[in-house]
């Protein structure tokens, strides 16, 4: 048992840190840290910089343009990126579709789509959830009917994150209505410019537009855009959901949030001294930090096990649950730290180029909004209740 990083791992950390320091513009990291809205160009810029080092598709095999990192390196890389305030990698093309195509796509699909993901030509979005198919995703109703060398798709997708930027949609469609729900689903690639595709914004409870509905009306999709075999889409979808979950605990995000919390609690006053010294608030922060310390080791244990050829498996579900609990607790304390200062809602301050005077301190504006936004963590990617079902079955045999 040795709970320290090797010299090689420390050297890798130093290399990543130095590269980010010279590559990531200060204005961009300030936007990320200040929870400002990021533009499409911000994401594209960062993807391109990462790709210039082959550090974008770090889940991919070397043969397809991945850097060949092990799980501990991936963990370190993610931690350094988040600590530095780098934009997140938009996962839909790089982390989700890419691995599916590498595993199940045709040679032609790999040759066409993978380079375009890496160089940023195509922005991908995910067409999974439907208004009537959330946790019970296999009950999805969007139909794809084969007509000659096309599929004709009709239905509605929802929660399509950043779908308003997207060029392409990878989409689960029902191709056999008679089969058992999981057996009749196919995985289609849909060009968003095809007639009949309509993206409608969903404004979330924090007033933001990040997710969308995608309406599909008689959309004609070339049959060659089917990934793998017809009616096998559920297998690919599950592969996608279970692929590369070492980052699922979001340890680095929680560390950044807890660091921010400490600074805010030092800056806020209670009874003439920093809030951080209030025993009640300090106790809440302490419990959170202890949960986070334990979770970091738990995460590394799972990562290390995966590194020895064992798959993270259902432990990833445990990490997802704990990771979201810790992150949500951090956002809760950040909101509480402000007292009445959490009330003002001035959304234009998050706009590009806004030059006005914020109400209260600079850091105050986003915190209540973030708290509400982060409620999504325990809902998406398989709600925490679904994760518990998975663990109960896979780890406990219940």
């Amino acid at each position: 048992m040795d709970l320290t990083y090797t010299p090689e791992e420390e050297a890798f950390r130093a290399e990543v840190r130095a590269w980010i320091a010279e590559t990531l513009p200060a204005e961009l990291s300030a936007k990320v840290r200040g929870h400002k809205r990021l533009s499409k160009q911000d994401y594209e810029f960062w993807h391109a910089r990462l790709q210039s080092r082959t550090w974008l598709a770090w889940h991919w095999p070397v043969a397809h343009g991945g850097p060949g990192w092990g799980p501990v390196q991936k963990h370190i890389f993610e931690e350094e990126c988040i600590a530095a305030g780098a934009p997140r990698i938009v996962p839909f093309g790089v982390n989700m579709l890419g691995p599916v195509l590498i595993e199940f796509g045709s040679e032609a699909q790999k040759a066409h789509y993978l380079p375009r993901i890496l160089d940023g030509t195509d922005w991908w979005a995910q067409g999974y959830s439907e208004p009537g198919a959330g946790s019970d995703l296999a009950s999805l109703k969007t139909r794809a009917v084969r007509e000659g060398d096309h599929y004709v798709v009709n239905g509605q997708k929802t929660w399509t994150t950043l779908g308003h930027h997207a060029d392409w949609l990878f989409c689960l469609c029902r191709t056999d209505a008679e089969a058992k729900p999981q057996r009749g689903i196919s995985f289609l690639l849909i060009d968003m410019r095809t007639p009949g595709v309509e993206v409608r914004p969903i404004v979330t409870l924090d007033g933001e537009h990040e997710v969308n509905e995608v309406w599909l009306t008689d959309v004609r999709v070339p049959a060659e855009n089917l990934v793998g075999e017809e009616n096998m889409g559920w297998t690919y979808a599950k592969f996608l959901l279970s692929y590369e979950r070492t980052g699922i605990a979001g340890v680095a995000y929680s560390k950044a949030a807890v660091g921010h919390l400490r600074r805010v609690a030092e800056a806020q006053q209670k009874d003439g001294r920093p809030l951080a010294q209030d025993p009640f608030f300090a106790a809440r922060m302490g419990r959170l930090e202890i949960d986070l310390m334990a979770m970091e080791i738990f995460n590394l244990r799972v990562v290390a096990a995966a590194g020895q050829g064992r798959s993270p498996g259902p432990e990833a579900s445990l990490l997802k649950i704990k990771g979201t609990q810790v992150r949500q607790e951090a956002t809760d304390l950040l909101r509480r730290a402000l007292g009445p200062g959490a009330m003002p809602y001035v959304p234009e301050q998050f706009d590009e180029g806004w030059n006005g005077e914020p109400v209260g301190p600079d850091y105050a504006g986003p915190l209540a909004r973030q708290y509400f936004n982060m409620r999504k963590l325990s809902i998406y990617g398989g709600s925490n209740e679904i994760q518990k079902n998975i663990v109960a079955k896979a780890m406990l045999g219940l």
Binding site: M1, D2, L3, T4, Y5, T6, E9, V72, K255, A256, V258, G259, A282, A283, M285, G286, R287, E289, I290, D291, L292, M293, A294, M295, E296, I297, F298, L300, R301, A304, A305, E315, L318, I321, K322, E385, K388, N389, V391, A392, M395, L396, G397, L398
Partner: protein, 371 residues
């Protein structure tokens, strides 16, 4: 980064597991707990023979281990069998002697033939480390102790007891403390032994001019006392992991076999999710204890923070696991005859040793650290 046990530790774990599975069923444990000494002398000797006492001590104290990882391995196994033999008392006593730098005849200690105890807590002292009112007075080379100690683990049947005492200063003064060795046969020492709620044994001591041998140079013993208590906290945290595993496994088995409403109760989602919560929090506690054990051999603020975090979390999770295990079982877990509640009781009572959740949270907060 390596979370696997070394081969040597794995062998140690297997040795302990094999012995406990074959020779230490719950019936023997209950019988041991009911002995006047509070443990089974034969079982103690057998386990000492296997090297489980020596594993707790470093080579310079006649042992074969003594690192955080050794404590983790041994005490987790002891927890899995709810062992009542005085490993913890031996660890505390031996650590106290070693940390003072005093000379000792280590061989009988490492072999378990000379049993030690550690008497530090005093009535009203709660978890305050410096709370000592027992007085130590020197007349030339001869030292005598006068005062009272409470809940000294396994002190009633110990051959010798390490006792903390004050040379000068007020009750909470961090200065002026010493550690002394008092033989069990010493005149002026009276011991009132009693069982503890969860099956262990402890004693209150009354010292009246009891002759005592100073350990090291008396006067600045507080850091040594802190170290001894930290080893104890790590040991019971590891023990708690073993207890938690048993609570979890037993409850899971019960969910699969107990049938109500025509199906195993484990088919009910309300219970499944609580079982998952238990599993998850146990992994969290295990992670925190592994970190504390891994850092235990390089003393400093990181090690101290990790230990406070671990003991805090063990207290929090221990209570959850104990209560949930009993609740998910229902009535059967309310009976003495069933094994589970004895593990649950030990798990809860560990929060009463070496500082509880609140104590360790407070200490954790007093130390600055990352992130």
């Amino acid at each position: 980064m390596d979370f696997e046990l070394s081969d040597e530790r794995r062998m140690l774990a297997e040795t302990a597991e094999r012995y406990l599975a074959a020779e230490y069923p719950m019936a023997r444990r209950h019988k041991a707990a009911a002995e006047p000494a509070g443990f089974d002398r034969a079982a103690w000797e057998e386990m000492a023979e296997l090297g489980l006492v020596a594993a707790l001590l470093p080579p310079e104290a006649g042992g074969l281990g003594g690192r955080g990882e050794d404590l983790l391995v041994v005490f987790e196994r002891l927890g899995r069998a709810a062992v009542v033999e005085p490993f913890l008392a031996q660890l505390l006593g031996a650590t106290a002697i070693r940390e003072t730098g005093a000379a000792a005849d280590w061989e009988p200690i490492a072999e378990g033939r000379r049993r030690l105890a550690f008497a530090h807590s005093e009535p009203g002292g709660r978890f305050e480390t410096a709370h000592v009112t027992t007085r130590a007075v020197a007349e030339g080379e001869a030292w005598h102790l006068t005062g009272a100690k409470t809940v000294a683990l396994n002190a009633d049947a110990a051959d010798a007891i390490v006792v903390s005492a004050r040379l000068d200063g007020a009750a909470q003064d961090p200065d002026g403390l010493g550690l002394f060795l008092v033989e069990g046969t010493a005149p002026g020492l009276t011991r009132r032994g009693y069982g503890t709620v969860e099956g262990g044994q402890a004693a209150d001591l009354t010292l009246t001019q009891a002759p005592a041998q100073p350990l090291g140079r008396p006067g600045q013993a507080l850091p040594v006392i802190e170290t001894v208590l930290a080893r104890g906290a790590l040991a019971v945290s590891a023990e708690a992991l073993g207890l938690m595993e048993v609570c979890k496994d037993t409850t899971l088995e019960y969910l699969k076999t107990r049938s109500q409403f025509g199906r195993p109760i484990g088919a009910f989602q309300a219970l499944q999710h609580r079982m998952v919560d238990m599993l998850l929090e146990i992994e969290q506690a295990r992670s925190a204890v592994m970190l504390a054990a891994g850092l235990a051999d390089s003393p400093g603020p990181d090690a101290a923070r990790a230990l406070h975090a671990a003991k805090h979390l063990v207290g929090r999770v221990g209570r959850q696991v104990a209560e949930e295990a009993i609740q998910l079982h229902g009535g059967i877990a309310m009976t003495w005859e069933y094994d589970l509640p004895h593990f649950a009781k030990r798990l809860v009572m560990i929060d009463h040793l070496f500082g509880d959740t609140d104590h360790h949270l407070e200490r954790f907060l007093s130390l600055e650290g990352a992130p």
